[in-house]
Symmetry: C2
DNA sequence: GCAATATACATAATATACTTAGGTATGTCA
DNA sequence: TGACATACCTAAGTATATTATGTATATTGC
């Protein structure tokens, strides 16, 4: 992705949606999964990912479970009931925005 | 629009595309047009609009023509040759990003 | 006639949400 | 044993908006 600014405002949506679909995941896993799913088009940097996870947890949208696997600490996150409401809202918001953008990018002739 | 951050990175695209489709326009007109076209879903604030116009002009993507109409100064902008290349690039970028987002929001089952 | 609203431009201060860069630590593979 | 992968983290810098404020003229309603 050349212009990386397009991810702005969509990072939390991505994280919440992935957790909703896949049950619990840990941060590193999320970043790899997003890269793979989007053919490396969207790459979440660690400097954005971890603060976002902490923020979502603090807001009550995620629950956390820590575990050590193969000597490495992992923090598994899963979406909370509040988080499910939030992700639905965020996806709707994204779709509305995209729809609005296409009103400008693909203007349709109006009837009188 | 609740989350106004979604416009980030798309403002220049909107301005360039409108000017490409409508010939010359002035700032105030652009902001009103966008509001109308998107049913007020996207509203460009003046604090974002005017600096964006100046930046696009400085980058050679817009040409400017000043005129006074009914005692009020207006600055008409129109897209340059460079601007046309730029808007094509930005629209492609937006579409790629949206497509990538939908790979996450609407994941499709993969064949083995 | 005058106040409120619309038109038309502009900039400064502030906020947000990223990127970049740097750090710690363990495991794996050539 | 040195590079790369895994797994977490934070601080500083940057980009791009919002909010607030300013100037000035025209129009509209009471």
């Amino acid at each position: 992705m050349q212009n990386k600014t397009l991810i702005k405002g969509n990072l939390e949506t991505i994280i919440l949606k992935l957790l909703q679909d896949n049950g619990e995941m840990y941060g590193y896993q999320i970043s790899k999964r997003v890269k793979k799913m989007t053919d490396a088009e969207i790459q979440i940097t660690e400097g954005a990912l971890y603060p976002a996870l902490h923020k979502l947890e603090a807001a009550g949208n995620l629950d956390i479970r820590q575990q050590t696997i193969d000597g490495r600490a992992r923090k598994y996150y899963c979406i909370s009931k509040e988080g499910k409401k939030e992700v639905a809202r965020k996806i709707a918001e994204f779709e509305t925005f995209v729809s609005s953008m296409y009103m400008i990018l693909n203007p349709v002739a109006k009837c009188k």
